[in-house]
Subunit: 292 residues, 2 copies
């Protein structure tokens, strides 16, 4: 489907992640139409050959494939389901791929409304962050129909390295929620362990040499504990975005009747952190609550 | 100090861990005296050349080095500080090494009382479990004086692979507490993520392919989530021992004025699990609370 000669891809949302991802598509030879709320953030892509469109509708109506990487579920809803949105303006037979981390229920709704118009829809959130986006090494967790997945897989492979169809509509978002849930409480443990180390008068970096490689080991302990210890609270992954994700996960868990006391606690702690003015810090700033 | 020709090592506690550890010392050529509450559990070691002693005092009074690997802090206290205990019966100039996971405050007390008798004392708890003990690959976290550490380091190297002096008396136990604290909340996240996956109708093993290697990754996710999914709740690491460790950590945290809501939650959940009859299961049985 998506041969480079003929396929036009609309790319909505050219923030830190979207910019790198759309850049890979351009470099691979695809024709890319871009739209972003703030045009300036699409400047580099336009310089690299992307075509600017003045609205979501304009980008969607000319594309065989539309990729979105926006902010919050409310943005996803507006961009897809608003009267000037993608579903209303997409071409029959086209493919919609939402790569935003968003609500599984909303992904199902978009899928249904797209399908009613003869349009394919996939939810395909990612992990790997800005570095993964830059290196085309993202993990992409996909939900939707296999036929649609296989049609767009060549495009996904240009942006990611670990691309898995997890199930039907919403399954990509659900998988991303599993990812965020595992991170949520792990972060508490890393902060408490490091705060304990400091309070006990230990050398935290020496402690990491003892505990980092064994049963206490985690990506967060290896990558974020050293930043906490060094007073580096720059994002990586923003507190405000993590709170958004945990809110989605808690809502989905509640709908499924799943008790999630660890996730609940983590959301409470991060809300407290945000209220203390740390919304734009990296998630490792949680350490400040324990050892501020 | 501990040359194989002349050194006699007393080994108190020949359970699953101690048996392997003392066995390595024997194989390395040391003379080993053993005592255990249940003599039968020392049978293999006696067959391999260890000399049985009928009491802690008898084992301690003839040894240049005494190693203990017992159960609970109350056992450590009795074995070291009781009137028939190690400190009362150890030889001046000898070395005491408690490898049990126990209370940092108790380690400091033993150190002081030993020192008053001219005896060296180290706290040296381990991680790596029965497999690490069997393969002489334990991580050993040591607290005490450097001089004593260096004197016994050749012995520790026979049992472990990652041996670090973490600080003064109690620092080994404190480091082990950091280890257990990091595990405690990570386990909640792993259980909640896997329970979410199942409730959402995802294939948990496929989910692990998406989330296992990235920012959600942890030793627990890689090693224990598959056991949860397979219904394998055999110990590895016993629920009852983990509860013991969390209790020590919570007490130490309280003494230091450290708030540890994640650890508190984990202890509550594991207490609930124990009350449901899972004391002798592996720690991955926590999953049953979420998806029983």
């Amino acid at each position: 489907m998506f041969d480079k000669e003929n396929a036009v891809i609309g790319f909505i949302g050219t923030g830190v992640m979207g910019r790198s991802m759309a850049g890979h598509l351009l470099k691979a030879g695809y024709r890319v139409l871009v739209y972003n709320r703030t045009k300036a953030k699409a400047g580099d892509l336009i310089d690299a050959g992307a075509v600017w469109k003045d609205s979501v509708a304009a980008a969607a109506s000319e594309a065989q494939g539309v990729i979105t990487m926006v902010g919050f579920p409310s943005d996803v809803e507006e961009v897809y389901l608003g009267k000037d949105g993608i579903v209303a303006h997409s071409r029959p037979g086209s493919y919609l791929i939402d790569m935003t981390t968003s609500s599984p229920a909303l992904a199902v709704e978009i899928y249904s409304k797209a399908r009613a118009k003869g349009v394919y829809s996939l939810d395909a959130p990612v992990s790997g962050g800005d570095v993964g986006a830059r290196n085309a090494a993202l993990t992409i967790m996909v939900g939707g129909d296999r036929e649609a997945f296989e049609a767009v897989e060549p495009i996904l492979k240009i942006m990611g390295a670990n691309i898995i169809l997890q199930g039907g509509p919403g399954a990509g978002q659900h998988t991303k929620m599993c990812n965020q849930i595992a991170i949520a409480t792990t972060m508490i443990g890393v902060c408490e362990a490091m705060a304990y180390a400091r309070k006990a008068g230990l050398d935290p970096s020496r402690v990491l040499q003892s505990i980092g490689a064994g049963a206490a080991g985690s990506w967060s302990l290896s990558n974020l504990a050293p930043r906490m210890m060094g007073g580096d609270f720059a994002p990586g992954f923003y507190v405000k975005h993590f709170i958004k994700d945990m809110k989605i996960a808690l809502e989905a868990a509640a709908e499924m009747g799943l008790s999630a006391p660890g996730l609940t606690l983590s959301k409470e702690l991060y809300d407290e952190l945000a209220a203390a003015g740390e919304n734009d810090s990296g998630t490792q700033a949680l350490y400040k609550l324990f050892c501020g």
